[in-house]
């Protein structure tokens, strides 16, 4: 059953991250670049993710991408519990294109730029989590 965006985000959920194809190597071994979690200039409120529980299918997240580039993305499913274990807060952020949009509140473009020494190991940890949970591959 699909959850409402208004429902609380629970630890047993997974959230989806769109990963540019050059930041993903199918392997083996599979690899995700740290750059997949570097905040973009427009991620001022935090790195973007989507609650899988608010979607019928993970590929719905590709609607957030320009049409001609949708085939160039992988999708990783990250455990909410794991993200909270890393100290992250997931904040809902209404998005009219794709339901279930949330942001990693602490990892904004500004906070990243101001303290890369803090964030570099975290980006690597996020990439490791994503590497083990790819649910969609580019050109799949």
């Amino acid at each position: 059953m699909i959850k409402s965006e208004a429902d609380p985000i629970t630890d047993d959920e997974v959230v989806l991250r769109l990963i540019w194809h050059e930041f993903f190597t199918a392997g083996p071994p599979a690899r995700v670049s740290d750059s997949a979690f570097t905040p973009k200039p427009n991620e001022q409120g935090g790195v973007s993710l989507y609650r899988a529980s608010c979607l019928a299918d993970a590929v719905e997240t590709l609607r957030a991408v320009a049409l001609e580039k949708r085939s160039m993305y992988a999708i990783a499913a990250l455990s909410v519990a794991a993200l909270r274990g890393l100290g992250f807060t997931l904040v809902p952020d209404k998005n009219l294109v794709v339901a279930g949009h949330v942001m990693l509140k602490e990892l904004t473009s500004e906070s990243y730029k101001s303290d890369k020494a803090k964030w570099r190991p975290v980006l690597t940890r996020l990439a490791e989590l994503a590497r083990d949970s790819i649910v969609w591959r580019p050109d799949q």
Partner: protein, 140 residues
């Protein structure tokens, strides 16, 4: 057993160890993964990706990524060529970042080193070991 990655410089900055060579940090990357330092094929792939980054435009990922300034890419290219000539192993991850920089990254076992040419044309180095709360920044 793997040789510790960057063991020779852990816990000290490049300059505090008086290495005198701006590329020594990465050139001392050891080959715990069975790779021959500076092998041409891997470095060739790095150079190809960096050359491709010279022609990126803003929003190159369809999600708002910033393009790196060409001068930043060229700086990274020069760095890569110098590292190669110093016998460093090719980075395990490399290319444009979504925030307008270019990175060369080595993840070897528990050891991690990132050299980043930023969009404001600074060159920053970070190194850490799994479990470290923060990376150590070192000048490049």
């Amino acid at each position: 057993m793997n040789t510790p990655f960057l063991e020779s410089v852990r816990g000290a900055t490049h300059y505090s160890r008086g290495t005198g060579d701006p590329y020594r940090q990465a050139a001392t990357v050891t080959t715990g993964v069975g790779e021959t330092p500076g092998t041409g094929a891997k470095w060739g792939a790095v150079i190809d990706v960096l050359l491709g980054a010279r022609s990126l435009a803003d929003d190159w990922d369809g999600q708002g990524a910033a393009a790196p300034p060409r001068v930043a890419v060229d700086s990274a290219l020069n760095l890569a060529l110098s590292l190669k000539s110093h016998g460093a192993p090719a980075p395990t991850d490399y290319g444009a970042t979504v925030d307008g920089g270019v990175t060369l990254t080595w993840h070897v076992g528990k050891e991690h080193v990132v050299i980043e040419v930023t969009s404001v044309l600074e060159v920053e180095g970070y190194r850490w070991t799994d479990g470290d709360a923060k990376a150590v920044r070192f000048p490049v």
